[in-house]
């Protein structure tokens, strides 16, 4: 059966990267369409009328929105190999909990730190480090969050790693010093082609953020 799979995305989005890693892990061929979020395409507005955001997966003409929902959908449809979800319901609940935690906390806290100064900036930085420390604790001594296999929570979190250089530079700290176990997990993830071939270069991400900052400060 010839599936038609299209992904509406932007190269720098941590949330879009989750979907790209998931599709790569499953070996699914898809048509990638880079979106201009300052000038949203009719296709994006039609496929995600509620949020008008990326990523959107379009499978045989039907849209699926919200990155963690898309990753679960991919796992359920292409279920013949590389399962993302743990088999035990309790472990699945833990994986969903921490993906939800990362959704709620990481990007919002980064924004608090990004363009702020002084006390506000320091508070944002402290909170961001604390979030990653909590995620590191949740990993424990496992190889991956999924145990022996790379799973839903690994996919949910690994895209943030290409933003670490940006977080470190703006926050003046080193992830290696604050969360060494998490960084070891990042290295293990990068041994997988689905991750190393998908995630953009972290300096490229930083240059993008720097450019965004210039634009915002000139407004």
């Amino acid at each position: 059966m010839a599936d038609e799979v299209v992904l509406l995305d932007t190269w720098v989005s941590m949330f879009g990267m989750r979907v790209r890693v998931a599709l790569a892990e499953k070996g699914v061929n898809y048509d990638y369409k880079e979106q201009d979020l300052k000038n949203k395409s009719p296709l994006l507005l039609e496929m995600n009328p509620i949020h008008k955001k990326i990523p959107v997966l379009i499978h045989n003409g039907r849209p699926i929105c919200e990155s963690s929902i898309i990753v679960q959908y991919i796992d359920e449809v292409w279920n013949d190999q590389s399962p993302f979800m743990p088999s035990d319901p309790y472990d699945r609940a833990q994986a969903r909990f921490w993906v939800d935690f990362s959704d709620k906390k990481i990007y919002e806290t980064w924004k608090k730190m990004w363009l702020s100064e002084g006390e506000e900036h320091e508070a944002g930085k402290k909170e961001l480090i604390s979030i990653f420390k909590q995620l590191e604790d949740a990993l424990g001594d496992k190889i991956f969050y999924g145990g022996d296999s790379f799973g839903f929570l690994d996919i949910g979190l690994i895209p943030f790693s290409c933003w670490f250089y940006t977080f470190e530079t703006y926050g003046n700290f080193k992830m290696e010093a604050e969360c060494p176990k998490l960084m070891a997990w990042v290295k293990r993830c990068f041994q997988r082609k689905a991750v190393s071939n998908t995630l953009p270069d972290d300096k490229k991400v930083y240059d993008f953020v720097l450019a965004m900052e210039k634009i915002l400060k000139n407004k």
């Binding site: 699926i64 319901p89 309790y90 909590q134």
Partner: protein
């Protein structure tokens, strides 16, 4: 699942998030015990131990192991007790994705804005009101006609997630400040909520309107617009 499962819910009677979990347990006929928390100022050691990340209710404790965040708990209940109907999620992956999408929308657009409206003042309260109305308008289109429930013919994830907030909306009968959320402005939603609360399992989990109103009054949440 063994019938000597120990299922405990850390609860607060007013929390619509906790009501979601209780409705799911009732609908599935699962035996459970409620431990009521004295919120907000006197959280139990058990709550802090079982939910160290957020320190909030609801927490489901199943055979000693905690599960937190109501949406996560609902999917857990649906998976563990998958032999008990109703199924909260459909079996088809596309429809599951749709149900999860709407559940997430209800949480972010409706609940977050409702909490802003009820718990803040001034501009933030106005933002909350605006967002809440927008969200309810979208949900109003999703139900009614031949769609009895958001889940279709039977109660499902989105129904269980949305309906508890209506026990807060019914307070509009006692005050003018909530007159933007009414049977007149959202006929489909109010008809749907009535259908849900007529189910024994849901009605058992719905706090009395008077009690909710008195609680809001005591905490000055129903003052006239500033």
């Amino acid at each position: 699942m063994a019938e000597n499962d120990e299922v405990i819910m850390l609860d607060f009677w007013l929390s619509p998030y906790a009501r979601r979990v209780q409705i799911a347990l009732e609908e599935k006929g699962i035996k459970y015990e409620i431990k009521e928390e004295d919120l907000p100022n006197n959280k139990s050691t058990l709550l802090l131990q079982m939910n160290p990340v957020y320190k909030k209710v609801p927490v489901l404790i199943h055979n000693g192991k905690p599960i937190c965040e109501s949406l996560v708990v609902l999917e857990y209940i649906d998976e563990v007790w998958n032999h008990k109907s109703p199924s909260l999620l459909p079996s088809d992956p596309y429809h599951r994705a749709q149900a999860r999408f709407w559940a997430d929308y209800v949480d972010k657009k409706i609940y977050d804005n409702a909490m802003k409206f009820f718990k803040t003042e001034g501009e933030e309260k106005e933002d909350g009101k605006k967002g809440l109305i927008e969200g309810l308008k979208v949900m109003e289109e999703q139900v009614g006609g031949d769609r009895t429930y958001f889940g279709g013919d039977n109660i499902g994830l989105v129904d269980v997630i949305l309906v508890p907030l209506f026990s807060w909306f019914y307070v509009y009968k006692f005050t003018n400040n909530l007159n933007f959320v009414s049977q007149e402005s959202f006929p489909n939603l109010f008809a749907w909520a009535k259908k849900c609360t007529e189910r024994d399992c849901v009605s058992k989990c719905t706090p009395k309107e008077q009690k909710v109103f008195e609680h809001f009054q005591q905490r000055n949440l129903l003052n006239s617009d500033q």
